[in-house]
């Protein structure tokens, strides 16, 4: 392993340790033994085979999203609209599946439509970024609110299923549901698609293709990249659209693997969690795979921990917020500590 990759790993581990130290303080303040709390988080995530599968179920959508975000983050396009892109993809995929009904080609077409849904939604801020120079952070975030509010409306009125009392769509046809691989669990084919298909694919794109190389070149120095003959605007546009497509795919896999209906609650903020994971994984697919399992474990484990120790539910979001701050600040803190002679770098 090269020293640079090792540095990325150290950075992430350092951030995780600091985060756990800070959260320990708050556990102690609320009369909870932090070691017991972390023990319950671990048990809740990996305690038995079913819980391990559940952790992978949770990791699947956030892995797909953060792999997409890694592509856009690599060229410093800060897509924070994955949440809205996920909803658009999931909605378009669900509508397609319902319209097509039972058939052999329902799943593949609905799957592709979910990619298109996410990509089209991302193409608006991508166009504004590459052609008009409008900051994508603002536009992608604002478009989340349009997407989610609009889909809430679609599910409450035009697409509301008459069978249920809740704002949700009809059940998607059985032929578009992802098969369960281990009976009596939620281990669906989507997990395999994410970890054994999408993950190597994105790794290949990033490390072995000229597109991946161009992303990196633009991320390091856009002016030099332009000078070297790279069509910077085109790459920025593509990066944002690809990350949107993957977010849309994550949404439809959630529908086809877990929910079987489109619901307004389909994502509890996976689009934002994806940002934390992409940064924790340093935009490196392997790092991202590890980070998504780690964050999924914290999400699942902390709900067990909250129940057992009567702790507030929001600890996950607090941990994610601390993690991202410390990942960013890790270089500075490590340098500061070595200047003070506390550690040797």
């Amino acid at each position: 392993m090269s020293s640079l990759k090792l540095l990325g790993l150290y950075r992430a581990l350092f951030a995780i340790i600091l985060t756990f130290l800070i959260t320990s303080i708050f556990f102690i303040m609320s009369n909870t033994n932090p070691i017991l709390a972390y023990y319950y988080i671990f048990v809740g995530a990996f305690g038995n085979i079913n819980l391990i599968i559940e952790t992978f179920v949770r990791a699947t959508p956030i892995l797909i999203i953060s792999l997409g975000l890694a592509i856009s983050f690599r060229c410093k396009v800060w897509n924070i609209g994955a949440e809205g892109q996920l909803y658009m993809g999931a909605m378009l995929g669900t509508i397609t599946a319902i319209v097509l009904g039972e058939s052999y080609f329902t799943f593949p077409i609905a799957f592709i439509m979910s990619l298109i849904g996410g990509a089209l939604w991302a193409s608006i801020p991508a166009f504004m970024k590459s052609k008009l120079g409008i900051n994508e952070v603002i536009t992608t975030f604002l478009m989340n609110f349009i997407s989610i509010n609009f889909i809430q409306w679609l599910l409450a009125f035009p697409f509301k299923s008459p069978e249920t009392l809740f704002p949700e769509s009809d059940r998607i046809p059985n032929s578009s549901i992802l098969p369960i691989l281990i009976p009596y669990t939620r281990m669906h084919l989507g997990i395999i698609i994410a970890f054994l298909l999408i993950l190597p694919l994105i790794h290949f794109i990033i490390t072995k293709t000229t597109f991946g190389f161009k992303l990196k070149a633009i991320g390091e120095n856009p002016e030099a990249a332009r000078y070297a003959g790279i069509d910077v605007e085109k790459i920025l546009f593509l990066a944002l659209v690809i990350s949107g497509a993957l977010a849309g795919m994550a949404g439809f896999i959630e529908v086809a693997g877990i929910q079987f209906r489109m619901r307004p609650t389909i994502s509890p903020g996976y689009g934002y969690t994806g940002i934390v994971i992409a940064l924790l994984g340093q935009n490196n697919p392997i790092g991202i795979a590890l980070a998504s399992i780690f964050i999924a474990a914290i999400i699942n484990g902390s709900s067990t921990m909250s129940r057992m120790l009567n702790q507030p539910q929001g600890i996950v979001d607090f941990i994610q917020g601390l993690l991202i701050i410390f990942v960013l600040a890790s270089d500075y803190i490590l340098k500061y500590m070595s200047r003070r002679g506390l550690i040797k770098l």
């Binding site: 609009f150 507030p312 960013l328």
Partner: protein, 310 residues
């Protein structure tokens, strides 16, 4: 009909106020070359600390003060990341937003147990200004408002003066154009930027307080609903100028007021459907406005760029 329109304009002033406070603060900081996209989080924290302060002391003014302090703290953390640590401004802002959200959701449930719904027993009520509030039509619109509206309207000329007529403002704008040259001219870049950030923190925190203490009487993490990002858009559309910012804030406040106002006008079975659909309006208007007006926007030359003395 006139009454309806007056009420629409009065709601517009109310919905514009948080946007105005936040965008004028952002305007100052951006003039000094820092792009702070973390005001969404700072506004949320302001609403949170304002709610906590007002809830436990039963005093709205202490609530207002704590929202200001909450906003300043979060913006100063952002300042530390981008000035002291010299980190990328955009990622630092994303981190600040996620951290603020995490703090609010965790500590709210740490303070108030799961399943309880704390609310404030009173909100800032409109303060009619003697004589002026009795002027027909205009009186009800301009001079019968909450404290936040008055503060926002007073602060515009003050900050305009600060930015364009004082030595501080000159230094700030010089840094925004080129921090290296400003530094070589002997301007203390970090200090000037920190002062701008403190002003912004106070205003953005107050914007959060305005939402929590004068519009709703409960706290929820969805309360700011992208108002921080709309405020940043207003700064772009207002071309980094306090007067332009005022116009932008009124426009977007109007979009929000309209979506609330039309929802109350329509009755019958379709009203729920229409008001849900109308909740998109403020965001849609912002995107369209950026599409039309964001195109040739040129901000301060060093906006968003990192600067270190080495």
């Amino acid at each position: 009909m006139i009454e309806l329109i007056v009420s629409l304009i009065a709601i517009t002033l109310q919905t514009s106020t948080p946007l105005l406070l936040a965008s004028i603060g952002e305007c100052i900081v951006e003039r000094g070359g820092i792009l702070n996209l973390g005001i969404e989080g700072a506004m949320l924290i302001g609403a949170f600390t304002g709610f906590i302060g007002a809830y436990f002391t039963k005093n709205l003014l202490i609530g207002l003060l704590s929202s200001i302090i909450g906003g300043i703290i979060i913006v100063l953390i952002f300042g530390f990341l981008v000035i002291k640590m010299n980190l990328d401004q955009v990622i630092s802002a994303l981190a600040i937003n996620l951290l603020s959200y995490g703090i609010c959701i965790y500590f709210f449930r740490m303070i108030f147990s799961q399943g309880s719904f704390p609310y404030l027993s009173e909100l800032f009520s409109p303060i009619p200004i003697p004589f002026l509030s009795e002027i027909p039509i205009i009186g009800a619109i301009l001079f019968n408002q909450t404290i936040f509206v008055y503060i926002a309207l007073i602060i515009i000329p003050i900050l305009h003066y600060l930015m364009f007529k004082t030595r501080y403002g000159l230094s700030l704008r010089a840094i925004g154009e080129n921090p290296s040259i400003a530094y070589r001219l002997g301007i203390n870049v970090s200090e000037i930027r920190y002062i701008a950030l403190i002003i912004e923190g106070a205003l953005v925190g107050m914007a959060g307080g305005a939402i929590c203490l004068s519009m709703f009487n409960v706290f929820d993490t969805r309360i700011t609903a992208a108002k921080g990002f709309i405020a940043v858009s207003i700064v772009i559309l207002g071309r980094w100028n306090p007067i332009g910012v005022l116009g932008g804030a009124l426009l977007f406040g109007f979009a929000e007021a309209l979506s609330l106002w039309v929802g109350t006008l329509i009755i019958g079975p379709i009203s729920a459907s229409i008001s849900q659909l109308l909740s998109i309006l403020p965001y849609l208007v912002t995107i369209i406005a950026l599409l039309i007006g964001g195109r040739k926007a040129k901000g301060p030359a060093s906006l968003g760029a990192s600067f270190s003395r080495e």
